[in-house]
Subunit: 530 residues, 2 copies
């Protein structure tokens, strides 16, 4: 009998010494109950370390950490990930630490260089399988992307591996957990190896890692699954090379998974940056309402401050709904009218703008007055400002730079408006957290009299359907029209997406939850004649 | 005798049909005077096309453009660059178009995936040399990075190439022109091939391509050099495979090159986005003064509007110097005091901030009031807002998000403060463009009484020296201290650089002129425990 621990932990990118301390603490806790502890990919640097890997000091710190961890690898075998320069070449390594030494190093063969991944910027691929024996069982090694390809698994199996340990830093998007298991089960069955899949948990900038570590047997059958979005140390017993059945944590429904990703991504971003509390503008609209719910679940009501900032165009029910939600959730609330500043700017610009008609300029001034108020509170009290915009708005530029786009983090950046509604309804499933009227009112930016979002944009159902096809699936205008969408809308939306890249480039980060988010995931030129 | 034209042209990324029209116009102009016209790398998409390459519509448009260009390749051979999917794999190709058909395609072997480059995200490497014969001379092909390595040149020479045509999209940084020539001359001499090096010219987002196309003979001797930062069609005669001597445009002095890069990068960004004019805040300080000089040289005084926005802390001579420069350069100038808005915000926040002391919050409010005024003018008049911050400030976060950082483009983003001074003196070499007093006064943000930059920052000579070592050379704090810099300063500056990544992530783009600029060139995590 061999016991393997799946160390599904939350690391801090760049904090090599701190991550090493986590590994050592884990080893100390599990020594005696586990024979082997498997950690996520690039355990020591966290993932993705990006250009920190290019700092020579990074290598020195990894070497020092390895030395300390090896000393703890007595009475327990530790399998950890780290970058390693060997013969002048940097590899993404899974190391086996046993009996006080680094006994073996496996070099990742498949280096992802698509989507958010840039691994060929840093690493060269390895070529050789590595197998080590413990309690008579032969364990092979692999790192993340390796298991999405046949060759690394085939080589491990050919080298005699009975159980493949797979170290991961696999970011979440909707449906990713099932995708992984389907693929790994197929790989396991085809090559006749059991697979221990260990994933990171936690947020890092725009990514959130969901954990969901699991074990399949050599027939591809699921034997264990750790929880999603939470740290855990799962112990899995093996009879020879056969994993014994254990707990399979269920996947929650779609909205629950996405909501949990947003909460974890927001919490980790705020806390890992060094903030404890946040401020946000509460307008009475649904985006800020959902953002507030997420913030409360992420950081606790006592760490949240909300500000309502009415203008001449704000409906009374907006103020009332904002206040009601603040009371429902027990967060600090204040109201600051933006009228004095708005009036001041109109006066300052009266001569310059003489003879012109009001247009988006005056709307933007209002949004920017709110940005100044919120940033002032953020600066004065040391609270991070959360922005409340959603992916539909960010796609078409229906947002004001330095106004409602101002802030340190945008929880809904990758959430389409239709999903904002679905998540709001889901969050209200047991009790009213978002006032029902906020969900039911037609959305409005309230920047001019009787404004509705639909004055400037198509219906959100239509908008989001077109956006998914254009942005996430790279369909052309003609293809989307062929799928049954009105040409005028499709052309206009495609043009808006392309021409608003400059706004997105100055937007704060937010949690990636779709197959293609804005940010590192979608690299478009700003100057673009396509 | 064979005549080769070096088509050093300025393309628009993504505008495949428009770029094809440029190629055809060039062919029509040169038919009869040139036997072969060589264009830059990825001629049809422009460079870098980034994720536009992932759109299936891109391939269709390239195929259509190729068809049109091939029809023009009669009586002249055209060598152009484009992405090409062949057997399901995308390559970065140099195609030979002759007698109405695409006669041969060379696939780039070396795909850069460092610095600003992401070519492994899009392309697979080729493996084979391609040689074509014209007038009895054997011409080999290569694309950009290929010539920085031995293998592609060696294979071309082994395949019989006497002259290597090298299609480039090589971005400028200080000293890059000489670097390229030294390296290519060495490669030519070692493998005994003449090299025709054709580079793109123009700005694309943060990159500026400087042209400086050239020809070396098989002994590595420089025979021709086209101008830097300007479009040109240079004709080079070859006796058999031997390039005849021609004009060698001199490299200008360091400041002249950098200034020209900033002017071209700014002009192309503004115009290619579709703007004709800009607005900027003129404070009486040196950063905005140099930015104005660049803007005038890039776009013409008639397309520039400047605004001075004094507060209670603005010195009279700041206002006077701003006005004087506006008069010197003949740009539209107005003065709008920010006091009414600043007062309004202080009043609106009085209750919230009761009992607190003034701090950076109030300074930021002033900077943000200026941002609102400038953005209002930008919005109302359709002028792009230029921001005036420099690289030293951006490195340590000595700038206000949504305040002085607001804007569409930042000409000085990659220019350290010490270089701002050098460029200002250089620009004043013949006549006063920047009032001399602006260059001589100690710099101040003027956000509180008697403020000087040196209250918060080390002397700029010291700051910039440390920044170059930490940011551009990846030296560690210990190494920089060993080089003779005070530990307290080095530690503080390194910490400021790391902790201000969040500000840079929301900064507008600007022209890359150093080996490592902020942006695509330096990919750091925001959450960073290093």
């Amino acid at each position: 009998m061999t016991t393997i621990a799946l160390a599904q932990i939350n690391l801090l990118v760049g904090d090599i010494a701190g991550n090493a301390r986590q590994v050592i603490a884990c080893a100390d806790r599990l020594r005696g109950s586990a024979d082997i502890v498997v950690f996520p990919e690039l355990t020591l640097t966290g993932y993705p370390p990006e250009d920190l890997l290019l700092r020579p000091a990074c290598d020195a710190r990894v070497a020092a950490a390895l030395h300390d961890i090896a000393a703890a690898a007595v009475g327990v075998t530790l399998v950890i990930g780290y970058p390693a320069v060997r013969d002048g070449v940097r590899y993404n390594v899974a190391g086996v630490l046993r009996d006080g030494v680094v006994e073996a190093e496996y070099r990742k063969m498949q280096l992802p260089n698509y989507s958010v991944f840039d691994e060929r910027r840093y690493f060269e691929p390895g070529a050789n399988a590595v197998v080590f024996v413990q309690n008579g069982v032969r364990f092979g090694l692999s790192v993340c992307e390796d298991i999405w390809f046949d060759a690394p698994v085939q080589r491990a199996a050919a080298a005699g591996a009975q159980v493949l340990l797979n170290l991961n830093a696999s970011p979440f998007h909707e449906g990713k957990g099932q995708e992984r298991e389907t693929l790994v089960a197929d790989r396991a069955a085809r090559f006749g190896v059991a697979v221990v899949y260990v994933n990171l948990v936690g947020g890092q900038d725009e990514l959130v890692f969901d954990g969901s570590s699991f074990v399949v047997d050599a027939g591809g059958e699921l034997k264990h699954r750790a929880g999603q979005f939470s740290v855990s140390e799962t112990l899995v017993g093996f009879e020879d090379a056969v994993p014994q059945a254990g707990e399979i944590a269920p996947f929650a429904e779609r909205e629950a998974q996405i909501y949990a990703a947003l909460v974890l991504g927001t919490r980790d971003y705020v806390r890992k940056i060094g903030f404890r509390s946040v401020v946000l503008g509460l307008s009475g609209g649904i985006d800020s309402a959902l953002t507030l719910a997420i913030a409360v679940d992420a950081l606790g009501a006592e760490n949240i401050e909300v500000v309502s900032m009415p203008s001449r165009y704000t409906a009374d029910i907006s103020n009332a709904d904002a206040l009601r939600q603040a009371e429902l959730l027990g967060v600090a609330h204040q109201t600051i009218s933006i009228e004095p500043a708005f009036e001041a700017f109109l006066g300052m610009l009266a001569e310059t703008f003489a003879g012109t008609e009001p247009d988006a300029t005056e709307e933007n001034i209002q949004a920017r007055c709110r940005g100044i108020v919120l940033m002032a509170i953020s600066n004065k009290r040391g609270r991070m400002l959360l922005t409340t915009g959603n992916k539909s708005e960010m796609s078409v530029g229906y947002a004001t730079l330095y106004g409602d786009m101002a802030g340190g983090f945008a929880p809904l950046k990758d959430v389409h408006k239709t999903l904002v509604y679905a998540l709001s309804r889901w969050r209200n499933r047991d009790a009213e957290v978002i006032p029902q009227r906020v969900i039911e009112r037609p959305p409005s930016a309230e920047l001019r009299p009787d404004q509705k979002d639909t004055d400037s944009l198509p219906d959100y159902e239509l908008l989001d359907a077109i956006l998914v096809r254009y942005v996430e699936h790279d369909h052309s205008v003609d293809e989307i029209v062929d799928e049954g969408y009105p040409r005028a809308d499709v052309e206009r939306i495609a043009r808006m997406v392309d021409s608003n890249e400059y706004k997105r480039r100055q937007a704060p980060p937010g949690v990636k939850i779709t197959r293609r988010a804005y940010g590192r995931d979608r690299r478009y030129p700003i100057v673009n004649g396509f």
